[in-house]
């Protein structure tokens, strides 16, 4: 119980630190982004400048001086940003509530809240990542175990070279090569996911997603197997393995009950971390296969100078990264009670 309490205090400390880190990052990015000029011709090319300026004024980002619109000081904008976040103001003309996160102009020329842009993008991103994990985690672990058991035999050497090669090649190369092969084979599989009209969890959608899932899985499988092999070979040579064999366990029993469990201690948090990053998606894969996911939104906000959307997605990525790191760290203490997170020097 005392351990759990220690873990709780440690978690609380880390969460407070995380919030502070996040606010600092948000502030830096906010200032840098708001320093950019707000020219409707560049930022919102499809929008009527009058509507654009009106919304900017009601959001407190611009003021009208002698018929020209100038940006308000960044410190005022910053204060307004936080008040809007918790208590959005009412648009004086339409009587509707203003968006908490500003407006995206590239997705909808009439202005749309980044929140509404993001939410429908989650299903494809999550689905592809989950499929990829379902593929890669078991295959990767099994390969790693096999390599560790055949350590320094030809099977291990051959697989190690293969893993090395697969891990080095960037995933967009797989994506491109898979598409080339797909076209060369006369397109038995759809090369683009966007055109499929089927519910998200269905067999048609699964078939359409096979290529991106494969492109994502190669690297992960190689990564898991290399990591598992390294951990397991280390555990297999420990003294307690010898003891387990001496007390009469078969090689299989000793490997599964003692070695594999212990080698999972660093592997499990790694899988957990990957699971959290499922939300952020892969920009490259989504771009190559035209998947309308989170990564594609981010790319769109970058290329089309959609600042509010960019800040929103960028901060979303930051939160994912921070939370992921925190959960991975905490899970070490939960998976293996011998590890005391945040413990002193003793």
């Amino acid at each position: 119980m005392k351990d759990l309490k220690g873990l709780g205090i440690y978690a609380l400390k880390r969460i407070i630190l995380m919030v502070i880190t996040f606010i600092i990052i948000l502030t830096i990015c906010f200032v840098l982004i708001r320093m950019l000029p707000l020219d409707p011709g560049q930022v919102a090319p499809g929008t009527d400048p009058e509507i654009f300026y009106r919304i900017q004024v009601s959001l407190g980002r611009m003021v009208e001086v002698n018929g020209e619109y100038v940006q308000t000081p960044i410190i005022d904008q910053y204060i307004r940003f936080w008040t809007d976040l918790f208590a959005p103001q009412i648009d004086p003309l339409t009587g509707q509530e203003l968006s908490r996160f500003g407006y995206s102009w590239s997705v909808n020329s009439a202005g749309i809240s980044p929140w509404d842009v993001m939410v429908p993008r989650f299903p494809p991103t999550i689905l592809i990542n989950v499929y990829s994990m379902v593929f890669s985690v078991p295959i990767g672990l099994l390969l790693g175990i096999y390599m560790a058991l055949k350590k320094n035999k030809w099977q291990d050497h051959a697989l190690s070279i293969l893993v090395m090669v697969v891990i080095s090649v960037p995933s967009f190369i797989y994506a491109l090569l898979l598409q080339v092969i797909d076209y060369a084979a006369g397109t038995p599989l759809p090369a683009i996911v966007a055109g499929i009209d089927a519910p998200w969890v269905s067999s048609e959608m699964f078939v359409a997603m096979i290529l991106p899932v494969l492109a994502m899985s190669f690297g992960s499988i190689a990564g898991y197997s290399r990591y598992t092999r390294a951990e397991l070979t280390e555990v297999l040579t420990s003294d307690f393995m010898l003891l387990a064999r001496t007390k009469g366990l078969t090689r299989f029993q000793a490997t599964v009950r003692h070695a594999f469990r212990n080698s999972l201690v660093p592997i499990f948090p790694m899988i957990l971390g990957e699971f959290i990053s499922v939300l952020s998606g892969s920009i490259v894969i989504e771009q190559v296969f035209s998947i309308e996911g989170v990564g594609k939104v981010f790319l769109q906000s970058v290329t089309q100078k959609d600042y509010d959307l960019f800040l929103f997605v960028g901060m979303f990525y930051t939160i994912i990264g921070l939370v992921g790191g925190l959960i991975v760290d905490l899970s070490y203490g939960i998976v293996d009670p011998r590890i005391r997170m945040g413990g002193g020097k003793q």
Partner: protein, 559 residues
């Protein structure tokens, strides 16, 4: 039983004792037996020194090198890296395709007539010779063959007919509804043929004439005049066939367009035939082997080679392959083929590799320097300094680098490379810094450091003389492993189009370019993909080999 055991135990010492006694009895010496002459001095007038090692000492780095040399995969990887670096340095410097002067082409070599040609290394070998297998219909085959029959055409479009087959649509009952003869031919993508309506200046015309004489080749070909044929003869033919006047106009437009698409290669009369699988244009008199030319002739019936376009320029028809040699000074042979835009992949790839390598190494060096300075300060002083510095790195590492990249890019819209470098350096040094910090924590408490401190060594001496040399191997290895990750980030960003390099080229932008024509010309993607994979694999293998070599805990493990 008890007695027996006792005897067993006692036997040995007893025996030894006896032996010892025997020795003593048999060999007894007295000092008087030793003669003085039997002794001599080892040294009398010289002092004793430690002798020099007769073998050469093995330094730390030599030891590492010896262990690195045992790792065959790393040696191969190092060789591959060496070859790629040489390729990236030599090819852009030496290859004429990379050094086309701005007076010939503004932005280096680019030729739209040779766009999307297939890689060619061995002429006429059937493999890697710029030819591909294509299935063409009968009418297209006839046109191609007729083009090849023109006087003075050396490079034939159709290298050989591999197969001739009937492709038909069959009804469910097995009856052939419609179909046509197809030719499976080996098509030479380098056969661009003769280009018409080519505008050159009078002085260039003179230079071409000189070049023709000097090199004994034919560049200038007789001009083709399809307008006269279409407007007079073909119209008359259609009228005789009783085609209505409105249909005639549309027929004339379509045949004119067909001649335009031929870019001047169709030197013969064409006519429309109605086949079983649609209408097509075929050469007049092809089947009787009597093609009729439509060359432009002057009043005396001589072939015309140029017509004035305006006061300074002439319209000509050129054999483009020879004209290409005249214009650029090298043959149109592309080892890796060309891109959609007509750029040579072999040289572009070398330039891309040069950019990627330069960026990778440069960024890694900067990251290494910042990282070791930051990490040494944090690791050596520890305590509150360390805590503060750690929080700063925490914050920097939590910012997604792509956010920084985009912010820098929008602040400096003209130069995307600056944003790329900032985005790669800003989070890049943190890994080296934390590694350095760890190494400092590891070594700074050790006895030899304490001893040196007790003797009065200053901080700088402790850091640079005692701690740092111990950590250098690990740190160098980590910065070598940083190079592939930098190249990976750079190529992803340029591939996605987030970074626009403008005139510069990287492997990522080549992949992006190749992706556009990927479905029909996969070579434009395959070669850049191959290069970047090779680069990443060999850098990773090389770095891993270095890591194992520098890892002192593994010393002697494999012996």
């Amino acid at each position: 039983m008890k007695l027996n055991f006792k005897n067993l135990f006692k036997k040995k010492p007893h025996h030894e004792f006896v032996e010892f006694n025997d020795l003593n009895i048999e060999k007894t010496y007295s000092t008087s037996d030793i003669k003085k002459e039997d002794f001599n001095f080892t040294q009398l007038n010289e002092s004793i020194h430690d002798l020099k090692f007769e073998t050469k000492p093995i330094s730390y780095f030599k030891d590492c090198f010896l262990r690195f040399a045992k790792n065959k995969a790393s040696i191969v990887a190092a060789c591959v890296i060496g070859i790629l670096v040489l390729y990236a340095i030599i090819v852009p410097a030496v290859d004429p395709k990379s050094n086309v002067p701005a007076s010939v082409n503004q932005n280096g070599y680019q030729d739209s007539y040779y766009a999307n040609v297939i890689p060619k290394a061995f002429e006429n070998s059937g493999f890697w010779d710029g030819t591909e297998i294509r299935d063409v219909g009968e009418s297209v085959y006839k046109v191609y063959d007729a083009v090849d029959q023109e006087q003075g055409v050396e490079r034939k479009r159709i290298k050989e007919v591999v197969d001739k087959f009937f492709q038909g649509v069959t009804a469910p009952n097995g009856q052939v509804i419609s179909g046509s003869t197809m030719y499976r031919v080996r098509y030479d993508t380098y056969a661009v043929g003769n280009i018409q309506a080519f505008r050159i200046s009078n002085s260039d015309y003179q230079r071409i004439l000189d070049y023709q004489e000097e090199h004994d080749v034919t560049i200038l070909m007789p001009l083709v005049d399809y307008e006269t044929y279409v407007n007079v003869e073909y119209r008359q033919k259609l009228e005789e066939q009783g085609v209505s006047s409105s249909t005639i106009e549309s027929r004339l437009t379509s045949i004119r367009q067909y001649y335009v698409n031929g870019k001047g290669n169709y030197w013969f009369k064409l006519e429309r035939v109605e086949g079983s699988s649609g209408n097509a244009f075929v050469p007049v008199g092809y089947d009787n082997n009597a093609l009729e030319d439509i060359y432009l002739r002057d009043s005396e019936g001589n072939l015309v080679y140029s017509t004035p376009a305006d006061s300074n320029n002439l319209n000509v028809r050129v054999n483009y392959e020879h004209y290409f040699e005249f214009k650029y000074g090298f043959e149109p042979t592309f080892l890796f083929g060309t891109t959609n835009g007509g750029r040579d992949i072999w040289t572009r790839l070398a330039e891309g590799a040069r950019f990627s390598l330069l960026l990778g190494i440069g960024v890694s060096v900067v990251n290494f320097i910042i990282g070791i300075i930051w990490g040494s300060i944090a690791g050596y002083y520890g305590g509150r300094v360390d805590l503060t510095m750690e929080r700063i790195t925490d914050i920097i590492s939590a910012i997604p680098s792509i956010v920084i990249l985009n912010i820098v890019n929008t602040h400096f819209p003209g130069n995307n490379v600056l944003g790329l470098i900032v985005a790669l350096i800003l989070p890049g040094w943190i890994g080296t810094a934390s590694l350095t910090r760890m190494q400092f924590y590891r070594f700074k408490g050790q006895e030899y450091v304490l001893a040196s401190r007790t003797l009065g060594a200053r901080d700088t001496r402790l850091i640079f003389k005692h701690i740092f040399p111990n950590a250098i191997g690990t740190l160098v290895t980590s910065s070598v492993l940083m190079i592939p990750s930098v190249i990976f980030s750079e190529s992803s960003l340029t591939f996605l189009g987030i970074i626009n390099l403008g005139e510069m080229v990287s492997v990522g932008s080549l992949l992006d370019e190749g992706q556009k024509s990927m479905t029909t010309f996969p070579h434009a993607v395959l070669f850049p993909a191959l290069l970047i994979s090779l680069l990443m694999i060999s850098f990773n293998l090389f770095g891993n080999g270095l890591r194992d070599a520098f890892n002192t805990t593994l010393r002697g493990a494999d012996n």
